[in-house]
Assembly symmetry: C2
Homo-oligomer: 455 residues x 2
Amino acid sequence: MTREEALRGRQRALLETLPKHVLVIAAGQSRLRNITSLAYPFRPASSFLYFFGKMPPGTIAVLAEGSSTVFIEEPAKDDVLWHGPKPSFEQYRAACCADQVKSKSELITFISKFDQTDILALPTLDPVTNGELRLVLDRTVRRDGRDSTLINVIISMRLYHDAFSLAQVREACEITSRAFERGIAALEPGANERKVRAEMEYAVGEAGTDLAFDPIVTTCGEVLHQTRCGADMSAGEMLLVDFGAESSEGYASDVSRTWPVSGKFTGPQKDLYQLVLHVQKTAFALAKPGIEFKELHQVACETICQGLIDLGIFTGDPQELARRGAHTLFFPHGLGHLLGLDVHDMEDFGDAAGYAQGRARSEEFGYSALRLDRVLERDMIITLEPGLYMIPALLKDSQRTEPLADCLNLEKANDFLEVRGIRIEDTVLITEEASESLTASIPKEISEIEALVSA
Amino acid sequence: MTREEALRGRQRALLETLPKHVLVIAAGQSRLRNITSLAYPFRPASSFLYFFGKMPPGTIAVLAEGSSTVFIEEPAKDDVLWHGPKPSFEQYRAACCADQVKSKSELITFISKFDQTDILALPTLDPVTNGELRLVLDRTVRRDGRDSTLINVIISMRLYHDAFSLAQVREACEITSRAFERGIAALEPGANERKVRAEMEYAVGEAGTDLAFDPIVTTCGEVLHQTRCGADMSAGEMLLVDFGAESSEGYASDVSRTWPVSGKFTGPQKDLYQLVLHVQKTAFALAKPGIEFKELHQVACETICQGLIDLGIFTGDPQELARRGAHTLFFPHGLGHLLGLDVHDMEDFGDAAGYAQGRARSEEFGYSALRLDRVLERDMIITLEPGLYMIPALLKDSQRTEPLADCLNLEKANDFLEVRGIRIEDTVLITEEASESLTASIPKEISEIEALVSA
């Protein structure tokens, strides 16, 4: 499946699903940084990318009456001097695979031909673009209003990866794999976390793509999203790396590994690492079409409880412990999430993609961080990312530990404090048979890691 | 001068200059990328950084009645799990050197104590923050309204770099210098532009700071702001690099070099390179307190005209040629700009900083791109960045070339087409005696460059 086949096919499918409507999808504008001539690197909104690929800031697509029209801002005076010759409208049309490309100055006239009540639009995360849509449509575009019809159709398409999307996620995973190769090679007691991160980002820069998210490269593994980076690493510590590149067309990847800085796991590190790895393998083996993701999460929680029983941290029955939420003391997040054009795919629509229709996020601690609650189906891409964390804020919180006084050996848990945090995460494609790890080439067995770091 | 002395001193000075007013300075919010949990790397607005340093998104400072109060958004529930323990209010207070720190929830009550007509606020480039200010102040904050009083006072402070600011710009220049070292070492026929860029960004990543602007690393030197990067480099080409790191506190640097990919300049490359270098040295020698920057720009234009006469591209008198704007065919931009917390310092205030009061930007081609029109004074930091470009869009535009038919040898100019573009730029401090290049350690003599690339 070529890029053109993919983009045209998706545009057709959307037009055919909502034939009576006029559909407005905006790329968004650049977000300014500190002065008007300096914006953050522009990336179109993911749903725009899904149908039209990378186009300039300000582009707005309209699908109506069986045809797609893309409206492009005309370059400013002298733009050719500063940014070079722009593609022609025909070149833009070929690039975005639309039926026609017009000047943005024609948008309002074009839109006004239609009955306003037929128009559905996607909200964006860019306030400037939302303001523009408000002017053009004379109403506010909202996730929860009538536009949710369009959102739900797009979700039902993006949930299942076509061959082009899959090839893109594979590309992102390959770049990420090179990044992990460079990263582990830079591991060394006394070196700074930033050096590992710079090595990993080098692989992304060399590939000419962007990061899919703010990476985590930290010896403070117990902080789940520790994006601060800058400590010198010591021999006894572990480095938790959660990193993903984007592909050339903006698709994500997401991988976590946890490495011993010295190249050798300590006893407690090894114990917890083996447990996390075992949980991940158990979940991976079960990740098949037809299973509820929440069930996978549940199995992971119970497996963690069993492992912590084996290590003397818990006593009792693993299922009962999981039912009581005992695992959330050490594993307070969800087992994984959807992945596609976004690392948490379609989370700009809230939980509309991650949660099946009619389901809502629990407020219970632990489950409240579960980003995915759907039956797994073929061609979905998800992450599987169990972790174990020794989080002082939880272990010192008597409101959390006291209800578990009968089954928790806090003293034993404290023996593992130095391990701080371990997460093992892969990007996984659900196939008819079972599932395929798209990031299997990144080593995670203890023996492989020890061999690589020591090399 | 310590950081604390600098920040407290600046807060005091501002309070003393506008003692009757209530001054509101916002850091701004994170700009979202593709999903709500993923923002671009947050950087507070430069004027906020100037007085309070790096603080979390959403922070707003109020200076009133001789005292500075900083309002901070309280962390969300479970924030400690995801992002680790937050500093206490007292730690934040010490970090931003304010008199007091309060919760953002107290801001509206705090502000409502004051007479609304006494309040001056800074507009930001973040629409969300501007919307918040509109709610808090019950009016729109605008650059050209009453708030310009505050803007002008801040400009009069930021124009002159104190010891802390200078030390920060020096730090940024040092990181940039390491980046250029890595970049030139990666130069090699057949390698991709991205490799050079990745090497240079590595130096910034290793230092743990950010880029001051979207870098230019291109063999298409004739495109003035060619931020696209990804071509394979060939032996006969030159690579134009315009790159600057930020310092730890967010101060900028800005340097351009143009390197022959093969390590050896061709004849025409050498001719034009020597001319640009000569122009830069001429301007540098004249850059002293008391001189009009526009006069420097004028000298640069005339020197370019003289050089192009020597090369047979122009005939006639250099001053007369410059008066007619002949140089703009090959040098269509300005000689430089202010630099500080922004690479084009304070350009979020339009031309209010770059242009002395009462002056306005010319609409004439060439001069319209001049970002600085002031008398140079001690402690200002500027860039000096002459360039020569063979721009097809200009050379093929008969509206530009025909008026110069009597003095332009277009055929001769075409002999230099392959040179494409050369820019040589340094970050320069104006001192009492003369001026100091803060980026002098980055080689720019032909012999040095040839030795480095060949090494």
